[in-house]
Symmetry: C2
DNA sequence: GAATAAGCTGACGCAGCAGTCAGTCAGCCG
DNA sequence: CGGCTGACTGACTGCTGCGTCAGCTTATTC
């Protein structure tokens, strides 16, 4: 009884518009998408967009948030799968890169949000901050159990996201892709041999 | 004889406009700068801008290129200062972060160019590619002498730039800054303990 | 001081886009 | 069938920003 026929139609339309928006943002970038683009992509008139969303910004904001929800869940699960910090990093990298692979549109959306230009973005989109926060708490847990060196957790988290993002970006532009597992392992090694607490002082020659 | 009075004036004006453009790009971001903004910042009329540059894009392009020249020289010198790969990474990080510190406007410009959205930027601005190329050849040299693991040099170079950039970004938003040397050391450790060839198999527990 | 040249100006033309709203039309009800 | 409803449309308005150019101001020359 909660969902009338009208509400179902509304949901369907909203979703169609968001999906169109996602595709267009992928192609043209966040800043350069017009409402007309979105309408064309969805096969409706521009005015119709305004029946379901307050503004251009509203469409893009909601598109962002909803797209990120799946992603957040995926990363959360990846973190839970690992038992040690090293394992968690590998799982996160695998999930991250894998999702980028199958959702190239999302990846471009993610890039658009992560782009740090003027901090405008970083401040604006709560979804991206939530994503970083997930990583921060993972790092904090590892710091508490002595698995990582004593560095600001947020610094490590951002560096982690940064490396994964750029590896993902490179995978995207490569012709003959390396196996995903290899890249996840690369990230794991790259990150962990850098930030893991020294095992038992093997050498101290720096 | 090569430089008439007119040419000197022209050079002076061009420089003033570029400097104004740099400040404005810093504040508003590449995409959102208008020619009027630049003219206002330079204290001249909009039309005057078009006496010295063909278009808005021309102003921004030249601003980019010239700003990057100093930066390229700085990084080249940093690379030459180091004797080992580890030293070079630290020198590069120090130079990088130091330059970001004293040239915050340049840093924001750099962010605007590095933003990978849609590869539009990366393809467009040769300056950024040149910067990456510098790092690639540094990594290649290190790979040749067995100082780094056998991974695609460009991958490592981009990851390196990525980490430095994000550390720089974080420094920028911090209230009480850590000493620059500490952060350069952080980057050095973060990078090198990740990509340095294993010294003499201290442990093999992965 | 007048005449000429050079440099600069900002109002204007034009284009593109966000958001609006009067009008259209398909479907439904009596 | 004829009238009503509401979802949808797309032309329109207002605005912003690029690039132009007729004219103004300042420097230079005689």
């Amino acid at each position: 009884m909660a969902t009338t026929k009208g509400e179902i139609v509304e949901q369907f339309r909203c979703q169609a518009i968001r999906e169109a928006a996602m595709r267009v943002v992928s192609r043209k970038g966040y800043d350069h998408v017009t409402v007309q683009d979105i309408a064309d992509e969805a096969g409706i008139a521009k005015g119709t967009v305004y029946l379901y969303f307050r503004s251009r910004e509203d469409v893009l904001e909601k598109t962002m948030s909803i797209s990120f929800e799946d992603f957040h869940i995926l990363i959360r699960e990846a973190i839970l799968r690992g038992n040690t910090f090293v394992e968690r990093v590998e799982e996160v990298a695998k999930a991250h890169l894998g999702y980028f692979e199958e959702q190239q549109e999302f990846f471009r959306l993610y890039l658009a949000m992560a782009e740090p230009l003027g901090e405008r973005r970083l401040r604006k989109h709560a979804s991206y901050r939530t994503h970083i926060a997930q990583l921060v708490s993972m790092v904090e847990a590892a710091a508490a159990s002595g698995e990582v060196r004593d560095e600001p957790p947020e610094r490590i988290a951002i560096a982690l996201a940064s490396v994964i993002r750029d590896i993902g970006l490179q995978r995207m532009t490569e012709k003959n892709k390396r196996p995903l597992a290899d890249d996840a392992a690369f990230v794991r090694d790259f990150i962990c041999r850098g930030i893991a607490a020294p095992p038992a002082t093997p050498e101290e020659n720096l």
